[in-house]
Amino acid sequence: MNLLVLMIALPLLTAFLLSSINRISTLAARWIGPLVLLATAVIGLSVWPQLGAAPLALQWGGFQAPLGITLYADQFALLFALAMTIGTLLLWPRSAENQLRSSSLALLLAGTGSGLALSGDLFNIYVFYELMTVVSYGLIAGRGTSGSFASTLRYLVISGFGAALALAGIALVYQATGTLNLAQLAQLAPEKLNNLQGFAAFVLMLIGFGVKAELFPVNMWVPEVYATASSRVSALLAGVVSKLALLIIMRLLILVFHQPEALTVLLVLGILGVASGELAAWRARDLNRMLAFSSIGQLGVMFIALSIPGNAGIFAALAVMVHHLFLKPSMFLLAERWGGSIEKLAGAARTSPIAAALFVLLALSLIGVPPLPGFWAKLLVIMPMLALDQPLYYLAVFVMLAAASLEANYLFRVVMKLYDKQPAATSHKVHATADLATALFLGGGLIAAVFMLVPLADRLDSIAAQATDVSTYIQTVAPQQLQSGRVQ
C-alpha cells in the first residue's frame, strides 16, 4: 500500500462530490478543489526522495501483473505527475459563469494527468489519455463563445481520429505479444515486436498520442484552440498536457520499440514540426497564435531530441521539456491581456513594465540566448547530434539554428512593439494580479535556474538515467509469466 494512488483517486472523488458539496456550502465548494490538489502535491513530494533510490511499482486492486494493472513510479513519472498537479493548482481556471464545472474539470485533469504519468499498462494509458482528452474538450468549450465551440469541434475530430489510430496500434501490440503490461512488453519486445508489425504499431501510436503532443502533421487544432480557449487553459494544455503525451511516447520508445526506423520517423516529423511551426509563427499577426505556433516548433525540438539514440536523447528531451514546462504557461498568462493584433501592443510596456520585462527575458530564453536556460537546453540537443555525424542529423541542427533566428525575428518584433515610443490609440489593459503573479513565479523560477545549472543538470541526468533503465523497470514490476497456449 502506498499513498501515491491518492494523487489520482482524491481529485476524482472530489470532482464527483463537488456538486453535492456546493449544495451544502458554496464556500467549501470553491476552496476544496485547490486544497485537495495541495494535499496530493504534498503526498507526491513526500514520496519523491524515496524514489531516488529505487522506483516503485504498485498493483491496482492487489492483483499480480500482468493480469492486474501496474502503477509504476520513478522520478521521471512523478516529476510530470507533480507538474500536472501543481500546474493545475497554479493555473486554477476562473470563470464567472461555470465555476463549479470548471473546478470539476480542473480536478479531473489533475488526477488524470497524474495517472497517465504513473501508469504502467498500455491499455490503462489509453483510457487515461481518453479521459484527459474529454476533460480538455470541456475546458476549451468552457469559455462558451462560438469560437471556442468551433475549435473544440475541430479538436474533437482530430483527437478522435488519433485515438482510433492509437487503439489500432495497441491492438497490434497485443496481437503479437498477448500482454499489455509495459514491463512484460519490455521483456517480449526484442523477440516479438522487432519487425514490421512492431514498427507499424509504433507509428500508429506515435500519431495517435502525438495529437496532444502537437506532432506534425496532427497539430492542425493547435492555433485555433490556443487562440480561443482562456489563457489559463491554453497554458495548461501547451505547458503540461503536451508533455504528458510526450512522456508516453518516451516510455514506449525506451521500453518497447527499439527499431532504428522509429528514431528516423521521429527525427523527420520533428524537423517538419520545427520548420512548419516556426514559419507559421513568423507569419502570425496575433500574439496567442504566435505562441501556439512557436509551441509546435518547441515540441518539434523535443521530438528531434528523442530521435537521438541512447541516454543522451532522453536527457536532452527532458531538459527541453522542463524548460518549456515553465516558459510556455508563463508566456500564455502574459498574452491574456495582450490578445488580438500585435499592432495594438504599441507602447504597452509603459502601462505594465514588469510584464514587458518578463516577456523580454522569456523571449530571450526561448530563442536560446546564453546564459539563459533555453540556451543550455538547446545545446544539449545539438551537441550529441553533431557527434553522430549523419546527414539527417546535420539537417536537424541546421533547421534548429534557422528556427532560432526566425524566433528571434518574430519575438523581437513583439518586444519592439511593446517598447514603442508612440503608444497605440486604444489604451492597454493591465494584467490581473493573480495572472501576473503566477507568470512571475514560473518565469522567475526559470530565470533563477541560471544560478544552479550544474546541480539541476545532474538531477535531470539522474532522472533520465533512471527512466532509461529497462532492467530495473522489469525487476520492479516483476510480471509473472503466463502459460502460452492456443485458443481451445
Binding site: 486492486g61 464545472r101 503466463l482
Partner: protein, 228 residues
Amino acid sequence: MRRFTAALFLLGLGVMIAAIYQHMDFSNTAVNAGQAINAVAAEETGAANFVTSVVLAYRGIDTLLELTILFTAAMIGGMVLGRRRVDAPRDPDAGFILRTGADLLFPLLLVVGLYIILHGHLTPGGGFQGGVILASAFFLPLLARPGSSINQDVISIVEGLAGATFIIIGLLAMFDGKEFLTPLLDKGELGALISAGTLPILYLAVGIKVGSELAGLLAHLAEAEALD
C-alpha cells in the same frame, strides 16, 4: 495541400495495413491472459461471471476511468446543450398509446434494469447494461410528454454520489492495509446471489451512475429546441 496530405496519409495507411496483413500470424494469436484469468478468477474474486471479475477486479481502475469519462461527457453535454429560448415551441404530447405504454413500461424497465445490475457478477450483463435500461425507464416518459422535465440537480447529485461510492469502497481497502480497489468482504459461495464480496456493490454504483448520466444527457438533448 490539405488534399495532398490526406492522400499521402491514406496511401501510407493502406501500405501499412497491406504489409501487416501479409506478415501477421492469424492462426497463432497469443491469448494467454484469457486462459490465466479463467484459471484463477473464480478463486480470487468469487464472481461466477469472469467478465465481471475482469471489469471490476483485475482492471477495476479502467472501469472507474470509463465511468469518469461518462461523467465528464455528461457534464460537458450539460454545459453545451439544453439552452432554449423561453418562447421556443415544444413538441406536442404523444398519443394515448405511447403515453399509456410509457406508464406501463416504467416499472417493468426498472425491475429488468435492477435485475441485470444485481446479477452482473453471475450472468452476462451488469452495471453498464442495466444502467442503460434504467436510463431508458426515466427517459421514456419524457418522449411521451415532451413538456415534462427531469430534475437535473437531483441527477448530478445522484451520479456524483454513485461515483464517489465506487472510489470510497476502493479507499476503504487502503484503510485495511490493502491496495486501492482491492475487493473486500467475504467471497461467499460461487454462483450465489450474495457472493463475490464488494463486486456487486461496485456494479450497483456503476449501474446507478450510468443510468443517471444517460438519463441526464438524453434529457438535455430533449431540452434542445424543437424544429418547426
